[in-house]
Amino acid sequence: METFVNLSYIAAAILFVFGIKMLGNASTARRGNTLSSIGMALAVIVTLLGQGLDYKLVLGGLAVGSAIGFVAAKRVQMTGMPELVALFNGFGGLASLLVGWAEYQRAASATLAELNLTAPVNTFTASVIVLAILIGGITFTGSIYAWGKLSGKLGGSALTFPGQKAFNALLALGIIATGVIFSVAPTAELAYPMLIAVIVLALLLGIFAVMPIGGGDMPVVISLLNSCSGLAACAAGFVITNNVLVVAGCLVGASGLILTVIMCKAMNRTLVNVLFSGFGSKTQAAGSQSTGELKPISAADAYYILEAAKNVIVIPGYGMAVAQAQHAVKELAELLENNDCEVRFAIHPVAGRMPGHMNVLLAEADVPYEQLVEMDDVNPTIEMVDVAIVIGANDVVNPAAADDPTSPIYGMPIIEAHKAKTTFCLKRGKGAGFSGLENALFTAPNSRMLYGDAKATVTGLVTQFKDS
C-alpha cells in the first residue's frame, strides 16, 4: 500500500513537471494546466487511501474548500485577477503553516500521553516546522496585505515610517531567536510558547515586509509571494517527510523565483532594491519636478487627430484595468483599422499589477495576439508613430527613467511614448500616479491630456468615429 501511494506520488510529480513545462508555451498551456490538475487529483485521491483518516472531516473540508474555490474562480472579473491570485496564494501559505503546527501539536500531545516513542520531534523536524510556519506565515499576511492594496481596500502607495527597517530587522531577529530556542529543545516546556511566538512574529513580518512596497512593484511582490507559498509547502513536506510535497513545492518555489527575477530585470532593479527601498513612498524625493504645462484636449479634437493618423500605438497600464476599458479600447482599435490605420498595442513587461496583466485583459477583449508588441520591438520605430495613446500607464512611459539621474526609477527601460509625433494621455486627474512620481511625459510639448475615466473617454472617441 505504502509503495503504491509513493509510486502514485511520483506519477503526480511527473504530471506537475510536464504541466509547468507546457504552461510555458502558448499552444500547449491549457493542456498543461489540465495535466497538472490531474496530477493534483491523483495525489489527493491516493492520500485518501491512507490509514486512520477521519473521513467525515477530510471529505467535508475538501467539499467546503472546493465550493469556495469554485465560486470565487467563476465570479471573478478579469480585472480582479491579481487580487484573487494573491488571496489564493495567501490561503496556500496559511495551510502550510497549519500543517506544520498540527504536526507539532500531534507530537506534543503524544508526548504528554507518553506515547512519544513513535513520534519524537527531533531538532531537524523542529527546525523545518519553524521554516514551514515562518514562510507560510509571511506568505499569508503578505498576500493578504497585497490583496488589500490591489483591491484598493488599503492605500496603494508605499507606507514607510521612521525606523521601519530596524523594526523589521528586529522582527526577523526575534523569529531567529525563538525559532532556534524551539528547535534546540523541541520537547522542553518552553517550546510551545516559543512556537506560538514564531507564528505571531512571522504573521507580523509578512505585513511589515509588504507595507513599504509601492503599487507599481506589485508584479514582483505577487510573483515572489507565489514562490514563497511553494517553499512553504516544501518545508511542510520535510515536516511530514512526504516526497510529493517536497518536489511540487520546490518546483513552484524555483519557477516563481525565476519569474520574480525576470520582473526585476524588466525594471532594471535588483530584488533587494524592490523589497527594501520603500520605492514610491511619500517620504522619498520624487526626482526633479517637471515645470511644463498640462495641455488638455477635447474628445472632438482628439478624434480629428486620430482620424488623420496612419500609425497608432496603444500603451495600456493599470488605469485601463481599473476602468475596465479593455473592450472599449478594442472597439476603438477596430474603428481605427477600418479607417486604414495600423494599430498596435505596446505592452511593458511590468505594466499592471501582476506579470502579464495587460495580456490577460486584452485577450479577454479579443485583441488578436499579433497586435501585441513588446517594448524592445516598438521603441526603435516609435518616431514613425503618429499617435501614442497612453491609457492609464505612468511609470512605464516616464521619460525620467531615461534622462533624469535623480529620479528613483532612473535606468528602468520604458516605452518611449514621448518620442511619438503626438501622445494622448488618458488619466483620471492631474495628481501624480499610483507610484507618486511626477511624469514629464504629461507636460511634453507633443502631449495632450484626456482627463476622465478611461472607459468613458475611449467610449467618447468611439462615438465620435461612429457619428462622423
Binding site: 513537471v17 509547468i20 504552461l23 510555458g24 498551456a29 493534483m40 495525489a43 489527493v44 492520500t47 486512520g52 477521519d54 472531516l57 477530510v58 473540508g61 474548500g65 472546493s66 474555490g69 469554485f70 474562480a73 471573478v76 484573487l84 489564493f88 490561503f91 496556500g92 496559511l94 497549519l98 500543517v99 498540527a102 501539536q105 500531534r106 505577487i222 510573483s223 507565489n226 511553494g230 509547502a233 511542510a236 520535510f238 515536516v239 516526497n243 510535497l245 517536497v246 513545492g249 520546490c250 518546483l251 513552484v252 518555489g253 524555483a254 519557477s255 516563481g256 525565476i258 519569474l259 525576470i262 505592452i347 501582476m354 506579470p355 502579464g356 490577460v360 479577454e364 488578436p368 495576439y369
Partner: protein, 92 residues
C-alpha cells in the same frame, strides 16, 4: 536516511524548476503564475494526513482548516488559470 533522500530530491527539483521556466513569453506570465500557485496547494496532502483519528482534537481541527484553505487554493487556482487560458485560445 530518509531526510537525506528528501534533501536530494529537493535540490534536484530546484534545478528542474529553474530550467523549466527559462524562456516563457510575457503573455503567459500570469497563467504560469496562477497555475504554479495552484500546484503549491499540494500542501493539501499534508493537511489530509494531519486529520487522523488517532490525533488529538486541536491538531485535527488545525488540519481541517488547512484542508479547506489548501483546497480553495487548488480548485480556485486551476479554474482561474483555465479561464484565462481559454481566453487566449479562442481567437486563433
Amino acid at each position: 536516511m530518509e531526510l537525506i533522500l528528501l534533501l536530494f530530491i529537493f535540490v534536484l527539483a530546484a534545478f528542474l524548476g529553474f530550467e523549466l521556466i527559462a524562456k516563457v513569453p510575457s503573455q503567459l506570465h500570469t497563467p504560469l503564475m496562477s497555475g504554479s500557485n495552484a500546484i503549491s496547494g499540494i500542501t493539501v496532502v499534508g493537511a489530509i494526513l494531519a486529520v487522523n483519528t488517532s490525533a488529538d482534537s486541536l491538531s485535527t481541527w488545525l488540519g481541517f482548516a488547512a484542508i479547506v484553505l489548501a483546497t480553495i487554493n487548488v480548485v480556485g487556482g486551476y479554474m482561474v488559470t483555465d479561464r484565462m487560458l481559454g481566453m487566449f485560445k479562442k481567437k486563433k
